[in-house]
Symmetry: C2
Subunit: 255 residues, 2 copies
C-alpha cells in the first residue's frame, strides 16, 4: 500500500496513520505486506483550499491536473518495487466497489484498465427517494475526429479538459454515459483517455516509463495524458462500461 498526503490542512495524516496502525497490528490475514505514506506538498494548496465549485471550475483545471500528475508520479516512484507485477490506483473517495475488484480487473490481462465511475444521489420522485445514478467520470473517453481537428489548432502547451463545453466541444464518446451494472460486467471498450478514480496497470507499463504527464502530452495531462502516452507506446487501454465503481457525490450539478 502507498499513500500520498499532500497540500492537506486537515487531520488526514493522523487518521490515516492511526487506521493503518490498527490494521497492520491485526493477527489475521487482513494486514498488508507493506505500507508507505508519502507526505509532500505540490504547491497546490491554493487549489485544494478552494470550494468544490471553484476547484472544479475551468480556470483551475490545467494547474490542478499538472499538480495531481506530479503527485501521482512521486507516489509511484517512491513505492513501486521491482517485484511488483500490477499497480492499482484507487482514489480515497470511492464509496462502494466489489470486494473482488482486483481479481475482476486483472482477469482481463490488459496493460491499462478502468471501470465505469458513477455516484449515488437520492432525489424525491413521486413521494419516493430514487437513486439518480449520477455519471461521474468524464475523463474516460474515446477520441473523435472532431477532437483531433480541435487539437490541430492548439499550441503544444495547451491542455484540454472535459466537461467545459462552454469553452470548446470535443464531441468525445464518454464511457460514463454508457453502461449498465446489470449487464455483462466484462464487456470491453477501447479508450483513448481515462480517469484516475480506479486504474489497474501492468507494472511493466510504469517501469517502461509510462506515467502521468505534469505537462501537455498531446494536449492532455495527468490520467488522460497517461492513456494517450500508453497508446503512443502501443500499450492497450480498455474500459469496462458495465463494471461500475461508486464515487462519493461531490454535489456537482449533473451534466
Amino acid at each position: 500500500l502507498g499513500f500520498l498526503v499532500g497540500d492537506s490542512e486537515d487531520d488526514t495524516l493522523a487518521v490515516l496513520s492511526a487506521e493503518l496502525d490498527r490494521i497492520q497490528k491485526r493477527q489475521d490475514e487482513v494486514s498488508f505486506n507493506s505500507v508507505t505514506i508519502i507526505e509532500k506538498d505540490f504547491g497546490a494548496g491554493e487549489i485544494a483550499s478552494m470550494d468544490v465549485k471553484d476547484r472544479h471550475g475551468f480556470k483551475a483545471q490545467a494547474p490542478r491536473r499538472k499538480a495531481m500528475a506530479r503527485a501521482r508520479n512521486y507516489l509511484l516512484y517512491a513505492t513501486m518495487k521491482p517485484e511488483h507485477s500490477w499497480v492499482y490506483w484507487r482514489d480515497a473517495d470511492i464509496v462502494e466497489s466489489a470486494p473482488e475488484i482486483l481479481e475482476d480487473l486483472i482477469a482481463h490481462d490488459k496493460d491499462v484498465i478502468v471501470p465505469n465511475i458513477w455516484f449515488h444521489r437520492y432525489v424525491e420522485k413521486d413521494g419516493k427517494m430514487v437513486d439518480v445514478e449520477g455519471r461521474f467520470d468524464y475523463n474516460s473517453w474515446v477520441e473523435t475526429d472532431k477532437a483531433r481537428k480541435l487539437q490541430a489548432t492548439l499550441a503544444k502547451d495547451d491542455i484540454l479538459v472535459e466537461g467545459y463545453n462552454e469553452y470548446y466541444d470535443t464531441g468525445r464518446r464518454y464511457m460514463t454515459r454508457e453502461g449498465d451494472y446489470r449487464d455483462d460486467k466484462d464487456v470491453e471498450l477501447p479508450l483513448d483517455g481515462i480517469g484516475g478514480v480506479n486504474i489497474v496497470v501492468k507494472a511493466d507499463v510504469h517501469k517502461s516509463g509510462i506515467n502521468f504527464p505534469c505537462y501537455a502530452f498531446e494536449n492532455q495531462a495527468e490520467t488522460e495524458g497517461f492513456a494517450k502516452m500508453a497508446k503512443r507506446a502501443k500499450y492497450e487501454v480498455v474500459g469496462l462500461p458495465n463494471y461500475v465503481v461508486w464515487h462519493i457525490d461531490t454535489d456537482e450539478k449533473p451534466r
Copy 2:
C-alpha cells in the same frame, strides 16, 4: 550506484560483480553507500549483436532508441530512492573525465545538464601521431525552424535521429561541433535535445515523471525525447560546450 545489464552475451555481469565486490569490501572511503545491479533483457539482442556499422545504421535507430529508453526507465525506477537529490547517468564507455565532474556539473544547479562528448583518435600527420579530437555525440542540439517544419510533416509515431543526412536534414546546431576544453569550462548553452553519455539531473525532475520516452515524444525518443519532455514541463536543459568528457572511439567514420 545502479547498473543495468541487458541483452548481454559476454561476461559483463561476472566482471561487474567481481569488481563491485572488490570495491565494496574496501575499508577506506572508496566504497559506495549502495550498489544495485538490474539484469533484464529488452528484446534488443538482435540490435546488440550487430556489428557497430549495422547497429549505428539508420534502420536500427528507432527500435534501438526505444529499447534503450525502456532500459533506462527500468533502471531508474528500480534504483531511485526518495532520499536522492541528484541522478547521474554515466555510460560504461567513457574513457576519461575530470574526477570532480559531479561537483562541477551540480555547481550549475540546473534541472538537466550535459557536458560535451568527444573521443580521442590518433592519426599520423607529418610523421607524428596527432589526436583528431573526434566529435562524438550529435544528440545534444539546439532546435531549428528547419527541424520544426520537418516535424510538422511527420506522423506522430515518427522518430527523428541525428547523423543520417541522407534521409533528412534537421539543420540543428550540434553542441559537439563547438567548444574547446581550453576555454572557460562553465559556459552554458541551452539545449533542446541531449545525448545520454553523461547526464546530471535533479531527482525532482525524474520523480515528477520526466523520463526517457520509449515511444515518439514530439518525434524524438530516449535522451533526445527526455530533453524535449523536460522542456515541455518547463524544466531547464543546459549543455557545457567547453566541458569535454571523452568517450571510447567506436571507430565510426568521422562526420
